[in-house]
């Protein structure tokens, strides 16, 4: 959907539908995803940026 619509910055995640930041009660994973999404703001343009969370070097 992000590829077709083209929002300025998107972090693609590997989780099931309904787990936008990771599984329920997995605070550490959710925090990691939020941090990774916000880090896209520090990248220079032009956009749109579509990043794969799994490709980032912060998955534990």
């Amino acid at each position: 959907m992000a590829e077709r619509v083209g929002p300025p910055r998107t972090l693609a995640v590997p989780f099931p539908f309904g787990h936008p930041l990771g599984g329920p009660h997995d605070f550490a994973r959710q925090l990691s995803v939020v941090g990774a999404a916000l880090a896209l703001l520090d990248r220079p343009g032009p956009g749109p940026i579509l990043e794969d969370y799994q490709r980032l070097d912060l998955v534990t």
Binding site: M1, R4, V5, G6, P7, P8, P14, F15, P16, F17, G18, H19, P20, L21, G22, G23, P24, H25, D26, F27, Q30, L31, V34, G35, A37, L38, A39, L41, D42, P44, G45, P46, G47, P48
Partner: protein, 160 residues
């Protein structure tokens, strides 16, 4: 990983035929300050609302494009899920609303210096809006006005 094939046949047919809009030209705004100094707000499409305080989202043709404002001190465990779709794990969001409205996560980041501050208000839309005309013409600009009023630098959209 969520995949197109995880959806029901009905939803797959709907998505295949849906006239997706493309943001053209691409929207782009360079942040005025680094993330570590930015004020961050969450915009979710979980359709969260506060029972007894906010009106529930309605199940209407094309989708309910209205908006709920959730103060930063909202009790997450008291939120109701207004999303009408059954194409996602509803139980996950019902038991852990923070997984789609990560206010505690922003507070943790602010305490650690990862962001500047957490916005005083966060926004909840309903998902499954098939007719987004009023959303883009009315509710969207209203959301932008609220975020600008709160001097928000970054709006983190959490789609459901």
């Amino acid at each position: 990983m969520a995949a197109f094939t995880d959806l029901s046949l009905r939803d797959r047919l709907l998505m295949a035929a849906y006239p997706w809009r493309t943001i053209d030209p691409p929207a782009w705004a360079q942040p005025l300050r680094p993330v570590s100094a930015a004020r961050v707000a969450i915009v979710t499409s979980a359709g969260f609302y506060r029972p007894g305080i906010d009106p529930p989202f309605r199940s209407i043709a094309g989708g309910d494009v209205s908006l709920r404002i959730l103060p930063v001190d909202t009790r997450l465990d008291r939120l109701e899920l207004g999303q009408v779709s059954h194409s996602f794990d509803r139980e996950a969001l019902a038991t852990d609303p923070g997984s789609a409205l990560p206010i505690p996560h922003l507070q943790a980041l602010a305490a650690a210096g990862g962001i500047g501050s957490v916005a005083p208000r966060h926004l909840s839309f309903n998902g499954s809006i098939l007719a987004p005309g009023r959303l883009t013409k009315e509710t969207g600009p209203e959301a932008a006005r609220i975020l600008a009023e709160d001097q928000v630098d970054i709006a983190l959209f959490v789609p459901v």
